[in-house]
């Protein structure tokens, strides 16, 4: 069965303030969807709510992955079901080496009795790190501690690569990346494209989409998807910005719950 990820009428609030006001989106295996939009329109809230961050309360709607109700699941269960979120601001965990963490995460995903052997793990990790042009020393560094912005992003992609998820959400993976890092990260993502895997790429710069070619582009404003189209929509946004959409839709302030949104 091919992967099918369905978001219907998703509403979510933070501290009682509604940020997502009914999101509808369907992603099938093999597809890349991009969500674009200015800052403060609810894009990152969507990413966090999908993964189940405790700060966000889902008030309505449904999210299913291959027919399974994701919203009923705890964060770790969602991950084990095949959802992956590459975070905009990954946490730092002192004292835990990157490789120990990666192996624990891989084994959690693979399930008890199906743990990866140490040798296989090291081989796999090292080859993926090479693809991402990461210094091998990062395997032994503490998880994200003292990593630069770009190193953290590469580390997120590394996790995505070894965890082999069904649905990947990339939350502003391009922020803080120079052009070389952007290319490497994008190549990492592209190498993971498959018929079994769907992607949701959240960004407010079109440039990422020069490297990761989307099949569908959605524009988010005021906590809703206000416009959808093909790759040409991203190109138009690059050229003309967002104002024409606002004009077209009669939107004055595109943001939602501004004081809470970073």
């Amino acid at each position: 069965m091919s992967t099918k990820f369905v978001i219907e009428e998703l509403k979510a609030a933070i501290e009682g303030k509604e940020i997502l006001k009914g999101i509808n989106l369907e992603i099938k295996g093999g597809e890349i969807h991009a969500i674009m939009g200015p800052n403060g329109t609810g894009k990152s809230t969507l990413a966090s709510a999908l993964m189940g961050h405790p700060k966000y309360e889902v008030t309505d709607g449904s999210v299913t992955l291959d027919g399974e109700d994701l919203l009923e699941m705890a964060v770790d269960e969602r991950a084990r079901a095949g959802l992956f979120l590459a975070m905009q601001y990954p946490s730092e965990i002192a004292g835990v080496t990157n490789s120990d963490f990666l192996r624990s995460a891989m084994n959690a995903r693979r399930g008890e009795g199906n743990e990866i052997s140490l040798i296989k793990f090291i081989r796999q990790m090292e080859s993926k790190m090479k693809e991402l042009e990461m210094n091998p020393e990062f395997a032994h560094r503490y998880l994200n501690e003292g990593f630069s912005g770009g190193e953290k992003k590469r580390n997120e992609i590394l996790q995505m690569m070894v965890l082999d998820p069904k649905i990947v959400v990339l939350d502003e993976i391009d922020s803080g990346l120079d052009i070389d890092a952007l290319r490497i990260v994008a190549e990492g993502v592209n190498s993971m494209r498959s018929e079994e895997r769907g992607f949701l790429v959240i960004t407010h710069y079109q440039r990422l989409l020069n490297y990761i070619k989307p099949d569908f582009v959605h524009v988010m404003m005021q906590g809703r998807i206000v416009k959808s189209g093909g790759p040409e929509l991203a190109e138009r946004l690059e050229k003309d910005g967002y104002d024409w959409i606002k004009e077209e839709l009669g939107i004055v302030d595109e943001t939602v719950g501004q004081e809470q949104e970073a």
Partner: protein, 465 residues
């Protein structure tokens, strides 16, 4: 992922042997009992006198009015001496089978024991087995239980015993001086570096029995030794007292590392005095892990007596339900250019209480001395508490003292991050805790690091609701 039930794991250390002591004193403490202890051990007269004097000191000293709650401690309800068997095993074969079983239950493989440099295992009040690697003997290193040392090296004992921690130092040092039994004695001759750590496993195994081991280490000039003690205690229903005294002399250019991991049953009072003197350019390192017990009061100290001496304490304390870890360190800078480092990591959970109590003291001669203190506390829930109580005494203007303290909770974002990669909340919390104490575990010898990680995992099981 399915895990074994926490109760089962806790019980792993809760077994008890049907072990018959060959001799034991009744409960309570009198000059007669002290005399009896000394007599049974065939001690020289001076040691008996020392004990009796210490007993008088003990009786006249008040309990400390700071630190933990000692009000439930009843000195008359404690048995002060138990001797497990007629004689010490000289070889592994001679060690009583029942005691070997205990080691097996503790999960110490025999092969590993043979690998160890010299295993001095204190079982109940006395060391029943120790075996010293021939290499050490050839180098002139003395490693034996303190009772044997008193018989075989009385002149060294008489010269150093009680010189770092006199009975009058505190009530529990006085108690130990009166009734001590067992412990390790180590002498490392000039220039000798012991490459393999010397180790002792010990545990308390008689209900209501105090354990009063006495350890004395002398590292002569330019020498090095690493001593390791580890402990997993059975679970008992009534209070039990452990009160050890550890004295260490680190001579010029010598280095001593003393590593302890103690995992006491939750009813044990663990009141220990540990102190070292570091002479010129000597280096003393305490690595101290305190898990469990009802109350631990322990402040490893280094007196930095010679120019350029270094001292360090690296400690972790874990307090759970009904537990109080009042632990810390003391650094006494008495000479120029002395340096000290204290790194204290505390974890409290299930309503447990951790206190860091530390002293950084700089005497008039401590020109150019430096001390760096870092205390980090991780609190796992809202019922648990922590305190940081630093004391500083500065008699010289030209010193550097840095003190940094952090208190943190396991953050929501960190948990979310780890869980978003498939780890359960328990696994994620455990990973954060293990990371928190990593600066400690990485300093342990491999087999202890493994044991430490296992203990912390047991401790963390069921910590999450």
């Amino acid at each position: 992922m399915a895990k074994k039930a926490p109760e089962m794991e806790e019980y792993k250390y809760g077994f008890r042997d049907e072990h018959k002591a060959v001799f034991q004193t009744g409960k309570g403490l009198t000059p007669e009992i002290v005399t009896e202890i000394s007599r049974i051990k065939n001690e020289p007269e001076w040691m008996l006198e020392y004990r009796l004097k210490a007993l008088k000191q003990f009786e006249k000293m008040p309990l400390p009015n700071w630190g933990g709650d000692l009000s439930e401690l009843d000195f008359n309800d404690i048995q002060y001496y138990v001797r497990p068997s007629e004689k010490q095993g000289k070889t592994w074969e001679e060690v009583p089978a029942e005691i070997k079983e205990t080691f097996d239950k503790l999960g110490i493989p025999e092969a590993e024991q043979k690998f160890l440099a010299g295993v001095s295992a204190q079982y109940e009040s006395e060391v029943v087995y120790h075996n010293m690697q021939e290499d050490l003997e050839k180098q002139g290193v003395i490693f034996m239980d303190t009772d044997t040392a008193l018989r075989e090296h009385p002149e060294i004992l008489r010269e150093y015993f009680g010189t770092i921690i006199p009975p009058a130092d505190n009530k529990f040092a006085a108690l130990n001086s009166a009734v001590w039994s067992g412990g390790s004695f180590i002498y490392v001759p000039k220039g000798v570096k012991c490459e393999v750590p010397l180790q002792a496993y010990f545990r308390i195994n008689s209900e209501n029995m105090g354990q009063f081991e006495r350890t004395l280490i002398i590292a002569d000039e330019d020498s090095f030794v690493h001593y390791v003690e580890g402990c997993t205690a059975p679970i008992y229903s009534t209070n039990s007292l452990h009160s050890a005294v550890v004295e260490i002399i680190v001579k010029k250019n010598a280095r001593v590392r003393y590593t302890t991991i103690q995992n006491w049953a939750p009813n044990i009072y663990n009141l220990v005095t540990k102190r070292a003197v570091a002479e010129e350019n000597a280096n003393m390192e305490w690595v101290d892990g305190n898990i469990g017990s009802k109350l631990t009061m322990k402040y490893p100290a280094v007196i930095l007596k010679g120019r350029g001496a270094k001292g360090s304490v690296l400690s972790i304390a874990v307090a759970g339900k009904n537990q109080h870890q009042d632990a810390g360190a003391k650094m006494i800078h008495l000479a120029p250019d002395t340096t000290s480092t204290i790194v204290s990591k505390s974890i409290s959970k299930h309503g447990g209480k951790v206190s860091y109590r530390g002293l950084a003291s700089f005497g008039r001669q401590a020109e150019g001395a430096k001390s760096n203190i870092k205390c980090d506390t991780l609190i796992l829930d809202n019922e648990s508490t922590s305190d940081t109580i630093p004391y500083n005494e500065i008699m010289n203007d030209n010193v550097t003292l840095e003190h940094e303290a952090t208190v943190s909770k396991v953050s929501e974002d960190q948990l979310f991050y780890l869980m978003s990669r498939g780890l359960t909340e328990a696994e994620a919390t455990q990973m954060i805790v293990m990371g928190f104490i990593e600066p400690f575990t990485k300093e342990l010898p491999m087999e202890y690091a493994v044991e430490m990680n296992r203990l912390i995992k047991f401790e963390m099981e069921g910590s999450i609701g």
